[in-house]
């Protein structure tokens, strides 16, 4: 028997994982989400903070919307139950989604969340890391593109030692510019509130209120 711990490959869901998904279908009592897993995951209307009647699901989430949800349970038939109830979970507006191999997500988070904290601070971006390798990022387009470049470095060099230093070097050397992109001095935007406790880390207790 061969079991490979893959460096790439599809996301296999685990209970309590926080994931970023795209709404692919709206039914009368639930939505279907593409979370990059083998199957679409149903999000039932009772798993949301919204009070609604059957048939009103379409008023809350549309096809193409991006949501941050948590894996609640996996049943024997392969059905993936997800919920939107919890800190840092919800629908996101604005920003964009950047993808990363699910296997590299721990490198993006870093030890005790060190890497993601550094990224957040140095780019002034709000970041929600999905264990499925989908990363929601919001900020100035400059900030977003710097996060994208950092994530690209993690994707390509994630196995090599000294990653944190290299990312820090990249972010430090490019602070205030757009790195490999042309600098575009945009209007100053107010800093964002701290990111929500998307990632269960050692220091999640001191995280601020969720971004949603």
């Amino acid at each position: 028997m061969v079991r490979v711990i893959p460096l790439s490959g599809r996301y296999i869901p685990k209970p309590s994982d926080v994931v970023v998904g795209t709404v692919t279908d709206v039914q009368t009592t639930f939505w279907l989400l593409d979370i990059g897993a083998p199957r679409w995951a149903p999000l039932h209307m009772t798993g949301t903070p919204w009070k609604m009647d059957v048939g009103e699901t379409g008023q809350y989430l549309h096809v193409g919307d991006t949501v941050v949800v948590q894996i609640e349970n996996l049943d024997a038939t392969g059905r993936i139950g997800v919920t939107m109830l919890g800190d840092g979970l919800g629908k996101v507006d604005g920003g964009t989604v950047i993808t990363l191999s699910p296997a590299k997500v721990p490198r993006l988070i870093g030890r005790s969340g060190s890497m993601i904290q550094m990224l957040t601070q140095k780019t002034d971006c709000r970041i929600a890391v999905g264990q499925n390798g989908r990363i929601w990022v919001d900020g100035t387009s400059d900030g977003i593109e710097r996060v994208r470049e950092a994530i690209r470095l993690i994707e390509e060099e994630g196995q090599r030692p000294g990653l944190t230093e290299r990312i820090a070097g990249y972010l430090g050397s490019t602070q205030g510019t757009s790195g490999p992109l042309a600098p575009t001095p945009g209007p100053a935007r107010p800093p964002f509130e701290p990111p929500g406790p998307i990632e269960p880390g050692d220091d999640e207790d001191d995280a601020g209120p969720g971004p949603f």
Binding site: V23, W40, T66, G94, V97, S178, G179, A182, T184
Partner: protein, 259 residues
């Protein structure tokens, strides 16, 4: 899952960036991804090339076999171009009969080769009305990361320019180079809001509001065009894109012909 749903915020972000003159991968609006061509990639073909534009990869193999000419063109060879978007190239492709998008890629590549008269078909004639060379151009997409038409046409031109007429194998004389007389290259653009970018990536193709391919030859002729996907271009857009296509075409042509 053939039902492709993409995060709307990704499309919005692509459009936001384009408004600032920027793109997801850091390119300028009028900049191609890295282009590379490996000539003679497949030894079993009479001409072949592996072309890459960014992460898109296409292998083209040219095979030449004796056959019958069409009754209405007894003095001319036969040229057929076929593109396959094999399921290994993208998660959204499924096995089965050719999808219309594969047929479109085939036909647009074929149209440029044919309209530019890239191959001197008369030179493929062996015995008028009876025997001629049939030139099969098979375009095999192995990694679809956007802009298949340009990648495919580049592979096809590279394969054709280095192809050999395998006369010896079929007892029709000595081998000779395939007579390529013109060099068509396709340049594809995509509309992202008011911006029009060259060489759209996979995500840009999903977010775009219309795609336009312009094929040019070495003598500054437009030889083929194809507007595809949902969206629109003004006549003024088309005129200015033709100028951009000439410029890109010259560079790509040199790469395809190569050494």
């Amino acid at each position: 899952m053939s039902n492709e749903v993409t995060a709307e915020i990704l499309g919005t972000h692509i459009l936001d960036l384009a408004r600032e003159g920027r793109r997801l991968d850091g390119r300028g609006l009028d900049e191609y991804r890295a282009v590379s061509i490996e000539h003679g990639f497949v030894a079993s073909a009479d001409g072949s090339a592996l072309a890459r534009i960014g992460h898109s990869a296409v292998v083209c193999g040219v095979k030449l076999e004796p056959g019958k000419p069409f009754p209405d063109t007894p003095n001319a060879g036969v040229l057929t171009t076929n593109a396959e978007l094999v399921p290994l190239s993208n998660p959204t492709f499924e096995p089965g009969p050719p999808h219309p998008r594969a047929i479109e890629v085939s036909r647009v590549i074929d149209r440029a080769i044919r309209a530019a008269e890239a191959i001197d078909l008369k030179k493929l004639c062996v015995t008028p009305g009876e025997k001629t060379w049939v030139c099969y151009v098979d375009v095999h997409v192995i990694d679809h990361s956007g802009n298949l038409i340009d990648t495919g046409s580049l592979a096809a031109l590279a394969a054709l320019t280095h192809a050999t007429l395998p006369a010896k194998r079929f007892g029709i004389g000595e081998d000779s180079p395939l007579a390529v007389q013109h060099f068509p290259v396709e340049t594809t653009f995509a509309r992202l809001g008011d911006a029009i970018v060259v060489d759209p990536s996979f995500d840009e193709e999903l977010a775009c509001q219309g795609r336009l391919t312009i094929a040019t030859d070495e003598a500054a002729n437009v030889v083929a065009m194809q507007k595809g996907l949902v969206g629109a271009f003004s006549p003024e857009d088309v005129k200015s894109l033709a100028e951009r296509a000439f410029r890109h075409g010259d560079r790509m042509r040199k790469l395809a012909i190569g050494g």
